[in-house]
Structure formats: C-alpha cells, structure tokens
C-alpha cells in the first residue's frame, strides 16, 4: 500500500481537481482509499457524492471551565493564562472557550480547585463510500483548533481501512499552508505531489511547502497547473525543479472543463476528454511507476 499526498502550499492551485482525477484513474486499475485532509475546507466530497457509512464526533482537546460558585475571585487563573482566555467581568471569572488552548495551567494553579478541564468537541469525521472507492473525510467546526490532530485521525483511519481492504493506494488531498494540518498530512507519505501555480505567489509557496516535505523526508514531485496562464513563470518553476533534481511531472493547461466538471459534481477525467483530462492521464502514467507499482 502506497500513500500519495497532494499539496499546493498556496490555496486554490487545483489540488482537489487533481486528486479527484487521479482517484478516478487509480480506481480503474485497483482499489484505493481516499483521505480528505483539508479538514478546514473539505471539498473532495462535493465531487464524489459520498454515502456516509459511519460518522463520529471528534474531541480535539479540552477547555477550562470555571465553577463560579466555588471561585474565590483570586485571579490566579488570569495571571497564569498565556492565551488571554480568562476574562474578568465585575470580579466574575469566565473562560473564553475560543481563546482557551486547553493547556490546563489554570486548572493546576487554581488554589480553590474550581477549574475543570472538559472535553471540547471540535469536529466530526466520516467513513464513506463513493463511486471511486472508500473516502475518509472530516469537518472541523467553525473556529476550532487542532486541525492537525483531526488530519492525523483521518490519515490513521484511511490507513487502517486501506489495510482492511488490501488497497493499493491511499490518496490524500492535503490542505494549504505549511502548518500543523500540512505536517500531519505529509508525514509518513510515500510521495508528495505538489500542484504549483505559475504565479509569483505560487512559486514562493511551492518553495515553502517543498521545505516541509524535505524536513519530514518525504520525496516530492511537482506538477504545474494552468501553466499557459503565464508560460514564463511556468518555465521558471521547471528550471527551479531541475536545479533541485525534483521530478517535474508535467504542465496542466488552463481548461474551462475544470470548472464545468466541478459544477456537475464529476472529475475532469469523467466529464471531459479535452486537453486537461489528457494531461491528467499523462500525469498518472508518470506518477504510477514512482509509487513503485
């Protein structure tokens, strides 16, 4: 079982479009398990119409709750809190649940012992069936933290499922950025495919996300999306990859088929046989041997 994670550094480079197409191409050849690790903006499900088979609440951490009746109003909790999460209004101390980091410093420091740590439900995760195979996905409730933990959970569940199903591939749709959810999505993967955009910001962010993959010793390869929007920058990214001995797997063209397919809830390779669909087939052809199969 090989795990491929698709990342972009910057948001909106076309990760999910690429993941959905690769999933469709993989599914014609063998069993795969999909994992949507973009728990902040889980969009893969919108294309694959998943039938949810199992769902579970996700407890991301805990948050402090002050028992007002036992509080002696000493303010120690406010003094020890480094997240400005303890509020005092007319001598009554309360916790701002959104600001609370769940560190429990106040719980241990309270001389009256009136602060409890209560589990905070911060999302849900699901195991679903789609026309392309199993999908593990999740949703973080608005404004919640610990998305890295939720991504780890999604990854873990996808791995377990892949072992059960004897799947050939786990395909992971990563999240933008370089922070905890990305670190959780990339670690332990066999290959990270970077979907880069030929823009000044796309180049900058590609560099940073490649740094994360290198840091966690995950081999990386690059594909450029919408290369024809700016051929000059596209060529710069290709040169950048050559300099660093990074496999450049191709340039995907700008194609209205991407948006049209998205609106129909289909993958590009299902909805079209145009230039983008063909380029995606070409991508899979070079990617597959890199996954050792």
């Amino acid at each position: 079982m090989k795990q491929l994670v698709v990342l972009g550094g910057k948001g909106g480079t076309g990760k999910t479009t690429v993941v959905a197409a690769l999933a469709q191409l993989m599914a014609t050849e063998g069993r795969l398990v999909l994992a949507d690790a973009d728990v902040d903006a889980p969009n893969l499900g919108l294309l694959l119409a998943p039938e949810v088979l199992y769902g579970e609440r996700f407890v991301g951490g805990s948050e402090a709750v002050i028992d007002e009746t036992a509080c002696i109003g000493c303010g120690t909790c406010q003094d020890v809190c480094r997240y400005d999460a303890v509020l005092a209004t007319d001598g009554v101390y309360t916790v701002d649940a959104i600001a609370c980091e769940g560190c429990a410093a106040c719980h241990y420091a309270c001389p009256a012992g009136c602060i409890d740590m209560e589990p905070a439900e911060s999302g849900e995760w699901y195991r679903s069936m789609t026309r392309l195979g199993d999908l593990v996905h999740a949703r973080l409730f608005a404004g919640q933290e610990n998305s890295g933990k939720l991504v780890s959970l999604v990854r873990h569940q996808a791995q377990v499922l892949a072992q059960d199903r004897d799947a050939r591939w786990v395909l992971i749709d990563g999240s933008p950025g370089i922070g905890c959810p990305v670190i959780a999505a990339v670690t332990g993967a066999d290959l990270a495919l970077m979907v880069a955009e030929p823009t000044v910001s796309g180049q900058h962010d590609l560099d940073r996300v490649l740094g994360v993959a290198a840091h966690f010793r995950v081999p990386a390869a690059v594909v450029i999306n919408k290369g024809d929007i700016n051929p000059g920058r596209s060529a710069e990214i290709e040169a950048y990859c050559r300099e660093r001995d990074l496999p450049m797997l191709g340039v995907l063209p700008y194609d209205d088929a991407a948006m049209a397919a998205m609106r129909q809830g289909r993958t590009v390779t299902e909805a079209s046989d145009g230039p983008l669909a063909q380029a995606l087939r070409g991508l899979w052809a070079v990617l597959k041997p890199m996954l050792g199969q």
């Binding site: 951490g61 670190i183 332990g188 966690f216």
Partner: protein, 143 residues
C-alpha cells in the same frame, strides 16, 4: 526479561501492531515467568505526542525491550534514553514475535522507522528532539 509488544488486541495470540504510539494495546511478556499482561495504551486518544506518552508508559512498566511494526522518532528517543531496546516485527502474533526475538531473528531498530507523526524535528530545524538531562543516552543492553 520483560518485553512489551505493540498489539492490535489483548493477549498473547493478538497480532503485532504496525504502529507504536497509537496502537490499541501493549502486551507485556515476562520471558522468565511466562506471565502475560495486556495493558490499554493510555495515549490512544492523545491530541499529540502519543508516541512520547506511550513510550514513557512502557518505560514505567520496567520492560527491557519493545517489539513493534514501526516506532516513530519521538517514541524512539524516549525508549533509547531509557535504555529500552527496540525491535521491528512486520507481522505475527505476540507469542510468535517474542519467540522470534528470543531466537535472535528480529532486527534491532536504532533510528526511527517512520517519520514523526506531528511536529518538528530532524536535521534542518535544530530544534528537534528532546533535551536530555541526567543519565546516559547509552544503549546496547544485552539480551
């Protein structure tokens, strides 16, 4: 010798788990008395640092060796620091892998066998890894 095996379920007939930090269970086998104890993994629901917490727990059980499918770098560092030897086993039951270890058939792991699950480490950052104190980091306790 006391050996802890990361496992998918309790008991000597359970399968060895491919993971360490978030495995379901640890089965501790005492090779002298043949006693078998199954322990729930306290780190199963940890938000982060599951490997560290489970490794600390295993060290507290006074074991001399660990057998697991894989061990992440954080857990490995804790086990190394405590002088616990770590061995890789790709499959089999707890009883089988303990027998394999006694027969000298298991590969000793000296570095992490999987990338760490979460957080920073490795050669680039210069912040990775634990800051040890006291005691030696020595390994190599014989079987």
């Amino acid at each position: 010798m006391k050996i802890a095996v990361s496992s998918t379920a309790p008991g000597a007939e359970a399968q060895v788990s491919p993971i360490f930090g978030r495995c379901n269970c640890f089965v501790v086998v005492d090779t002298e008395t043949q006693a078998v104890a199954s322990l729930a993994n306290p780190a199963l629901g940890a938000s982060g640092g599951a490997g560290i917490q489970s490794a600390q727990y295993i060290v507290q059980q006074g074991v001399q060796a660990v057998i697991s499918g894989n061990v992440g770098p954080n857990a490995m560092q804790v086990l190394n620091a405590a002088g616990v030897d770590v061995y890789a086993a790709t499959g089999g039951t707890v009883a089988e892998v303990v027998a394999a270890l006694q027969a000298g058939q298991l590969e000793a792991l000296t570095g992490p066998s999987v990338a760490k699950d979460f957080g920073k480490g490795g050669p680039m950052g210069g912040m990775g890894g634990g800051r040890g104190m006291g005691g030696g980091m020595g390994r190599g306790r014989g079987l």
